[in-house]
Symmetry: C2
Subunit: 171 residues, 2 copies
Amino acid sequence: MQVSSKGKYSVRAVIDIAQHSEGAPVPLASISQREGISLLFLEQLFQPLRKGNIVKSIRGSHGGYVLARDPSEITIGEIVRLIESPIYTSSCFSKNESVDDCRISSSCISGAIWKQLAEHVNNFLDSITIADLLNKAKPEVVYGLRLKSKKILDRPDKGEDLVETTTAEVA
Amino acid sequence: MQVSSKGKYSVRAVIDIAQHSEGAPVPLASISQREGISLLFLEQLFQPLRKGNIVKSIRGSHGGYVLARDPSEITIGEIVRLIESPIYTSSCFSKNESVDDCRISSSCISGAIWKQLAEHVNNFLDSITIADLLNKAKPEVVYGLRLKSKKILDRPDKGEDLVETTTAEVA
DNA sequence: ATAAACTTGACTTAGTTAGTCGGGTATCGC
DNA sequence: GCGATACCCGACTAACTAAGTCAAGTTTAT
């Protein structure tokens, strides 16, 4: 039940482009510096983003990436689905059986939940565009959640639960 | 962005107990048979469930497990959080830096999203109790989503994307 | 031409997940 | 009591996935 680091990094990278491209292409090297993401890793992330029509690449000297569409037309959901392992699905029968073989009622009952959960998640992420994030960045309100900046940063509630990941955690 | 098999199996197992215990304890062996889950695996799943006060164990001959509370007081969210790796958190600064070092605005901006997503997911899963699932099992409506049973089973949309997992997929 | 910058695909490493094994301990029914 | 039933617990392993690296390109502006 985690969004992968790849997904988080990708969203950050796209925001970075939106913030720093003034019509001119933004080279990965500069994103790498600002965001503290390895250049080689970024290159890997940008292939799906390019194919998914989130960004356009401009090759050659003074090249880089620009957004392929208006920030208001790029949703977080799109980005995450391009980068992440397939958004979760669930079926309640094994692949060797036909639909009619499904006789485990508890399986079917709970199966509906996972499907609905996936829909919820997708709807939520699809409701947020890059433009939303850019606009809401300066005012202290992001998406209906009032944040006193500090509050969200040191998360007084979850201190103990921080899992040690290989490198620093991504936001 | 997946609910683990462990989480799905656990929910199924708890439903199974609710459906088959008539006051009497339900042995894991019978859950194992009905649900097609390895006995050894079930044992592993039930330790956290017991410690989390979802089920109570009754040892000895004719023992087994019963629900520790009324089905209407057990939510899916509780079960999943007990079984799954820590529900996801995100911070926007690395652990070696203090809060004030956070200067990567795109990181903070997007970080708020993951936090909100986690809240959404938890709220959704916490809004569904075992009792809900039991009650809605027979009528064709589960949780506001009208399902024509067949429709949800063969998922006409996602056919290609089915990932081959080691064993059969869990619902 | 040359350097900046993207492109591609294979590779490595570490961690997680799913599932197993083996040897316990408690309790019931006879 | 004693044996069968069934939970208890911690270590183990195999497979997979995620994160990140590397090397050898190709494209294009100047």
